[in-house]
Amino acid sequence: MAFLDNASSTRVDERVIEAMLPYFRESYGTAGMELGHSRDVAAMKGLENARKVIAESINADPLTIVFTSGQTESNNLAIQGAALANKDHGKHIITSSIEVMSVLQACKALEKDGFELDILDVDENGLVDVGQLKKKIRKDTILVSIQHANGEIGTVQPIEEIARMTSARGVIFHTDATQSYLKIPVDIQAVPINLMTMDAHVIHGPKGIGALFVRKGTRVERIMEGGDEERRLRPGVQNIPGAVGFAEAVKIWGKDESDNLLSLRHYVEQKMSTTLEDYRVTGHPVKRLPNLFSMVVEQIEGESMLVELDMDGYAISTGSACSSKTLQGSHVLKAIGLRPEIAHGSVRVSLSRFNTKEQIDGFVEALVPIVNRLRQFSPLKRGEYFMAKSEAKHEEQESSSDDDQSLG
C-alpha cells in the first residue's frame, strides 16, 4: 500500500510512538501543580520540554506556545480569541477564500456577533494579492487571517510581506501554518506574525495535539473556561503524551526532508507529464508546498479514480463534490476559477518521508489505465478547463440557490 494522502494525515513515526510510551506507562501524572509528586513532576517536565522543542522550531520563546487539541482548536482560539479580546479597537476582519473551514467558519460566525468580514479573492494559482489586502485594511481592522500554505493545491502565500504590512498598521496577523510547518521554516523573530497554528498529525505526530503561537503582547481571550493551564489560554488537563509525541516529530524532522520531498514531487510531475494526457496542475507552479502535487484530470470524476486507485493499493484524495458528505465541491478549486465539472476531476498527491520513487512509478502506471477506462465511457468531451472569473461568480450564485437534489 502506498499512502499518497499525507496532507490529510500521516503515519505516526515509530520514534514518536516510542517517545510517547513512557508518558502512558510511567509519567502519567498531570502538570497542574508546581510542587507535585514525582509522576506529576515528570509529566510536567515532559510537557515543558515539548514546549521548548516546538518553540525552538520557530525561534520563539516557550512561553509563547499554547498547546491545543489541534488545527481546528488553534484556529478557533486565534480567531475567536483575538476578535473578542480586541473588539474595543474595531470590528473588521479580513481572511481569504481558500482558508480551511475552521478559519472561514470562525470568521463567518463572528459576523453574527457584529463583526464585519472581508473575504479576499485569490488568483488562478491560489495567490492572495497583497496590494488588494492592503487596500482592504481599514482603521477598525483588528485581524487578518491568511494561511501559510493551502492543503489542497499547495500554494504558499507571501506571509512575510503580509506580516510586515499588518504589523506596520497595528493589525493582528494570524496564519494557519498546519500544512507548511517544518516544511517551510518560519523564524518568528524575523517575521512579525502574531498568531500561528501548528498541528502534529501532518508531520508524523499523533492526532489530537496542536499548538498556537501567541506573540507576547498579542491579546487573545480564551474560548474555553476552566483552570489556569497553558497560561489560562487553554484550560484543562494537557494531552502530555500527545505534546511529547508532537515534539519528537519535530525533533526527528530531517534537515534535508523538505528537499527530499521536493525532489520526489518533481519526480511525480515529470512522470505524470510524460505519461498522462489532458490534465492540469493546480496551485502555484513554483510557490508550492514541497510535498504537494494536485491536478484536475479532464472528463472524469475524482471519487471514481480514488476508489479504483485504492483497489490497486494507492491512497490519494480528491476535492470532487462526490467525495464529501454535503456534496459540495472543494471551495478552493472553485476559488481558483475551475469549472465545476473540471473540479470534479481533482486528484491530490501528498508525499511523506515514507514514499519512494518506486511507489510513484507504480502509482502513475496504475492511474493511466484507470483514467483511460473511465474516459472511455465518459459522456463528456475534451473541454475547456477554466471559465472566466465572472462566469465562476455567476455559477456560484446559481448553485447556492440550488437544493441538494441537483448536486452529485
Binding site: Q299, I300, E301, E303, S304, V307, E308, M311, S320, A321, C322, S323, K325, T326, L327, R339, P340, E341, H344, Q376, F377, S378, P379, L380, E395, S399, D402, D404, Q405, S406, L407, G408
Partner: protein, 125 residues
C-alpha cells in the same frame, strides 16, 4: 463495489433506437444511456457515466437488469429496485442511484416517440 470495479455495458451505441441523458456535469453526475430494441425487447444497452462510484455502479446494475426485458417490463425498473439490488448505499448517495433509472426511462421515452412516428408512417399508405 463489484459493480463498480467491473461495470457492465459501459459505452455508447452509435445506432441506438433510444437515448436518454440526465444530470449535468456542473452539478455532479451526468449519464447518457443508449438502447437498441428488437421485437419490443431491449437487445442491447450501453451507458456513458461521468460521476461518482455510486453512479457508475447503478449504471451497470440498471443496464444488466434492463437487458433482455420488454419495454413494458423495463418501465417498471425504479430507483428503489436498483438501490435495493446494490443494497446499503450511504443516504447522501441515494440521488446518484436515481440517475441510471431515470436515464433508462428517458431512453424508453425517446424510443417510443421515435417508433410512434414510424408506426404512424407505416399506417399512412
Amino acid at each position: 463495489m463489484r459493480e463498480f470495479k467491473n461495470p457492465q455495458n459501459m459505452g455508447r451505441i452509435d445506432d441506438a433506437d433510444g437515448v436518454g441523458t440526465v444530470g449535468n456535469p456542473v452539478c455532479g453526475d451526468m449519464l447518457r444511456l443508449f438502447i437498441k430494441v428488437k421485437d419490443d425487447k431491449i437487445v442491447d444497452i450501453k451507458v456513458e457515466t461521468f460521476g461518482c462510484v455510486a453512479a457508475i455502479a447503478t449504471s451497470s446494475m440498471t443496464t444488466q437488469m434492463a437487458m433482455g426485458m420488454t419495454i413494458e417490463e423495463a418501465k417498471t425498473i425504479t430507483r428503489k429496485m436498483v438501490a435495493d439490488a446494490l443494497d446499503g448505499l450511504p443516504p447522501h448517495k441515494m440521488h446518484c442511484s436515481n440517475l441510471a433509472a431515470e436515464a433508462l426511462q428517458k431512453a424508453i421515452e425517446d424510443y417510443e416517440s421515435k417508433t410512434q412516428g414510424e408506426k404512424k408512417a407505416e399506417k399512412r399508405p
